[in-house]
């Protein structure tokens, strides 16, 4: 027991456990993929800032409307009738203590309130549309990739067809065709549903292709073979073996799809096929601002900045998330 090589009183006793100890005496632990990703993400300040802004925007969209003025109330007295633009403030935007982002030309409605309510529509539509794309894309992508053969052929060609679709034109036409009262929906409920459908339904191939590609390589892996050799049914393999390995890419591409959808919603609103006035939307505000760019420039800048910041935040966060989850994809 008392061996000459033994050094007592030392911290660095050579014990079997010491192999698992790091330099500073910390224990080396087995980490899950999620933990590793979170560690990487924590180091990426840009992505964290993006994520913070995203969370802030979501909070604003949910709770903001309780704190701002009525976005529909007119303040006619703040409008100069000759040019129907705000009387004063920076570049005729009516910015004051009462109206922090100024008021809308022609009506005097509070811009801050309209931006906050507009965030609701933008985020609601883009989240729901992304969700729809992800559900469709995952189901169809995984089916195509796993089963292969004619199923793959059929779904892949469908993806090609959907990607070739003139989406914007279709959206404009659809809003004209789907009149008020269709599908038992009316007003903004109908418009939001149509927007979600158009944006979500036609974007699924982007997710679908990625999921299909990943599934193609996953189904040849040993653990899938093992499960199959042990008699697991297709359903089990798809949901218990393949799907968990797809969560990372799906998460990344959803985060990157959201800003695309925000822009698309703004574009549709800009073209007059978004939500129905007087409900505020960012794209709708931009439409009204275009002819006034010289007389009331802030009216264009403010919703433009709102879209810019939101899209940028989502993109930075999404990029960071991708780097964290799959550093090789860089």
């Amino acid at each position: 027991m008392a061996a000459p090589i033994e050094v007592t009183g030392s911290d660095s006793e050579a014990q079997p456990e010491s192999v698992l100890e790091g330099m500073q005496g910390k224990k080396i632990q087995g980490r899950s993929l999620g933990q590793i990703a979170w560690m990487r993400l924590k180091r990426d300040k840009v992505a964290l800032t993006g994520g913070g802004v995203v969370i802030l925007l979501i909070l604003i969209a949910i709770f903001g409307p309780f704190f701002v003025q009525d976005p529909l109330a007119y303040h006619q007295n703040l409008i100069d009738p000759t040019y129907s633009r705000p009387k004063d403030g920076i570049w005729h935007s009516g910015i004051s203590a009462e109206h922090l982002l100024g008021v809308e030309p022609g009506t005097g409605r509070d811009m801050l309130a309209r931006i906050v309510y507009g965030a609701r529509i933008s985020l609601l539509v883009s989240f729901l549309a992304t969700l729809l794309s992800v559900i469709l894309g995952t189901i169809l992508g995984i089916t195509a990739g796993y089963f292969g053969g004619w199923v793959d052929y059929l779904i892949s060609r469908a993806m090609d067809a959907f990607l070739a679709f003139p989406l914007l034109l279709f959206a404009i036409a659809l809003v004209g065709v789907v009149t008020d009262g269709s599908f038992g929906l009316s007003g903004n409920g109908l418009r939001v549903s149509v927007l979600v459908f158009v944006i979500g339904f036609f974007n699924w191939p982007y997710i679908g292709r990625i999921v299909r590609g990943q599934t193609l390589s996953l189904r040849e892996r040993e653990f899938v073979d093992a499960a199959r050799s042990m008699g697991a049914r297709n359903g089990y393999i798809l949901f218990k073996e393949v799907l968990p390995n797809l969560v990372a890419p799906i998460l990344v591409y959803s985060t990157l799809l959201i800003p695309t959808n925000i822009l698309f919603e703004a574009a549709l609103s800009f073209l007059g096929v978004g939500v129905i006035p007087p409900t505020p939307s960012w794209g709708g505000m931009l439409t009204l601002a275009v002819p006034l760019y010289a007389t009331a420039p802030m009216y264009m800048i403010i919703p433009g900045m709102a879209i810019f910041i939101t899209v940028l935040a989502f993109n930075l966060f999404g990029d960071g998330l991708r780097d964290a989850l799959d550093p090789r994809a860089k």
Binding site: A73, Y83, S84, G272, P277, P278, L292, A294
Partner: protein, 587 residues
């Protein structure tokens, strides 16, 4: 009604106006001592007989067609008189005087007979086409036949088809029916005489023949739809080239004889029109002197408003009433607006100042309206059955709101009601107006939800279809109306006469079918006494307002810019309150 299409096209133009236009200031060689603000509204400004030079025009849009037989836009009707001569035309003047119809190709106004059902015109002798051939009454007859009865030329109005007696076997126009006699109800007993036989008395026929559709077209040179690129001129200028979406150039017609034409000055040597130009760019060029006129005549873009209203430019600006009304029709068959008291409640509660501000304010939008007929018509009478007062700080005052509530009480809807208000989705200002009205009505408990339809189908598929309106409960319908000819009949008949209710494409959106109003209008149009007609139109206006089925919103106005070097500029009421192009020149 189709004149409104020009406005739709231009509204789109406003939208498309890119933000790329240069931001430089509008420096001008004007010293700020021009003829003055509104100088060309009631009289012609910069009167001159100086010939020569090039008149440079531009448009953010294009013609519907420059073919006189296939056009409807007001500016097109105004401009085509430079290369065509209709039987009559509007006097080249400004203000009320410009509403007067005077003979052009004809030697005098029409001679009515047979109780205003037969109209005879004599054509001037010695008038020649640009190819040197002599103009005869048969060329006029042919022009009316091709423009109204052929299936090829569809863009112009069809009044002649409506009012002329048809052949026993319906006449199909000169392209499908090559018989010698053509339409039998237009007689040409000799080369100088033309007789129109109408199916009902129509005392304002002189206004109809002032349309470009009576400009003579030689049958031998007609190429149908392609004629727009090979127009044979009968006016002082001939069309050298026309390229759709690009440009048009005109030069003097050597065969035009001043002796046959007492009204045209024909000053510039050359006229050019650039098409599909950026609206903001047009304004910049007007201000810098690179351009003489925006041919569309609907005013400068919002971006240029502060510039043209600055002290140094204001003397070169006119702000005329354009002769059309923006209004809200209240449908007689949508509950509870079938009750006159509910309609009157809406009359009081519709904040017209808010609607005006939403549409661009008093200068670019227009004056607050209280009558159906706009102020520039001779038959306009000033009255206000539903006076409104503004509260301090905006919005209607308590007394006005109390009156609206009182009417709601009488209607049996003391707490207000719910209905829908329609607007054209591609017209932002109209949608903004709908929102302003929605907001104002809310104060008396009337909840109006906004429904939008594309302008192209507004009348054909939606609000002009009574079944659709009833089924969807659209009680309030926003609309703008310009008359095809500037009289009370031209203005009122299509929007308040029972016969203008159609299964589809109707323009009587209130579905007003009051026997007294119908009768008054029918009596007026068969009356040859102009003064008597004018009086009746004023009375009809009052009857409509008592019925409260039209809420007049604004008498449309525009800010028009006339550069200092342009001569003979006057606002013509005959063509929707734009500058008269007939005698315009450059210095």
């Amino acid at each position: 009604m189709k004149l409104m299409r020009s406005i739709s096209a231009l509204a789109a133009g406003v939208l498309a106006a890119g933000a790329l236009a240069a931001c430089g200031g509008g420096d001008s060689d004007g010293s700020g001592e021009g003829p003055g603000f509104n100088a060309a509204v009631n009289e012609v400004a910069n009167v001159s007989d100086k010939k020569g030079g090039t008149l440079r025009l531009a448009s953010s849009d294009d013609w519907d067609s420059p073919d006189p037989g296939n056009q409807y836009y007001a500016f097109a009707q105004n401009f085509s008189r430079l290369y065509g001569r209709a039987l009559t035309t509007f006097k080249p003047a400004a203000g009320k005087e410009s509403l007067e119809v005077i003979p052009d190709l004809a030697t005098g106004l029409g001679t009515p007979s047979n109780g205003s059902k037969t109209w005879t015109y004599k054509i001037r002798t010695g008038v020649k086409f640009s190819d040197g051939t002599t103009v005869t009454s048969k060329d006029v007859k042919y022009a009316v036949e091709r423009s109204n009865f052929s299936k090829e030329l569809q863009l112009g109005p069809k009044y002649f088809k409506q009012y002329l007696v048809d052949n026993e076997e319906p006449y199909k126009g000169p392209y499908d029916d090559d018989s010698e006699q053509g339409l039998e109800s237009i007689e040409t007993p000799d080369d100088q005489t033309i007789v129109f036989n109408l199916n009902e008395p129509f005392s304002e026929f002189d206004y109809l023949v002032a349309m470009s559709q009576t400009m003579p077209v030689p049958k031998a040179k007609d190429t149908g739809l392609k004629y727009e690129t090979a127009i044979v001129s009968s006016g002082p200028y001939k069309v050298d080239s026309y390229q759709r979406g690009k440009q048009m150039t005109l030069s003097r017609n050597p065969h035009w004889d001043k002796n046959t034409d007492p009204i045209r000055k024909a000053l510039p040597d050359k006229i050019t029109v650039e098409l599909k130009q950026n609206g903001d760019d047009i304004d910049q060029r007007l201000l810098s002197g690179d351009l003489e006129m925006d041919i569309a005549g609907v005013g400068v873009q919002a971006a240029a408003q502060p510039k043209v209203l600055a002290a140094d430019q204001k003397p070169y600006v006119d702000n005329p009433v354009q002769g059309y009304l923006r209004y809200m029709a209240l449908n007689q068959h949508v509950k509870p607006l079938d009750n006159v008291h509910c309609r009157r409640a809406v009359q009081y509660a519709t904040d017209k100042v808010a609607a005006q501000t939403a549409y661009g304010g008093p200068l670019a939008g227009g004056d607050v309206a209280t009558t159906v007929q706009p102020t520039n018509l001779e038959s306009y009478q000033k009255f206000d059955l539903y006076p409104q007062q503004q509260a301090e700080g905006g919005g209607l005052d308590q007394a006005t709101i109390a009156k609206a509530k009182q009417e709601l009480q009488e209607c049996g809807q003391p707490n207000g009601f719910s209905t829908k208000i329609s607007a054209r989705s591609d017209r932002d200002k109209e949608v903004a107006m709908a929102q302003a009205i929605q907001q104002a009505l809310k104060k008396v408990g009337i909840n109006a939800s906004i429904v939008q339809y594309p302008a192209g189908d507004y009348f054909n598929k939606f609000v002009g279809v009574p079944d659709y309106v009833h089924e969807h409960g659209i009680g309030m319908i926003l609309m703008a109306w310009a008359p095809d000819w500037p009289t009370g009949y031209g203005f009122l008949q299509q929007i308040v006469h029972g016969s203008a209710i159609k299964p589809s494409g109707g323009t009587n959106l209130s579905e007003l079918d009051d026997s007294k109003i119908n009768e008054a209008l029918d009596n007026a149009i068969s009356n040859t006494d102009k003064a008597a007609r004018t009086k009746i139109y004023g009375e009809v206006d009052k009857m409509v307002m008592e019925n409260a089925s039209i809420v007049p919103l604004i008498y449309a106005k525009a800010l028009l810019y006339r550069p200092a070097n342009v001569t003979n500029v006057g606002i013509t009421g005959g063509y929707g309150g734009m500058y008269d192009y007939l005698n315009m020149g450059v210095e």
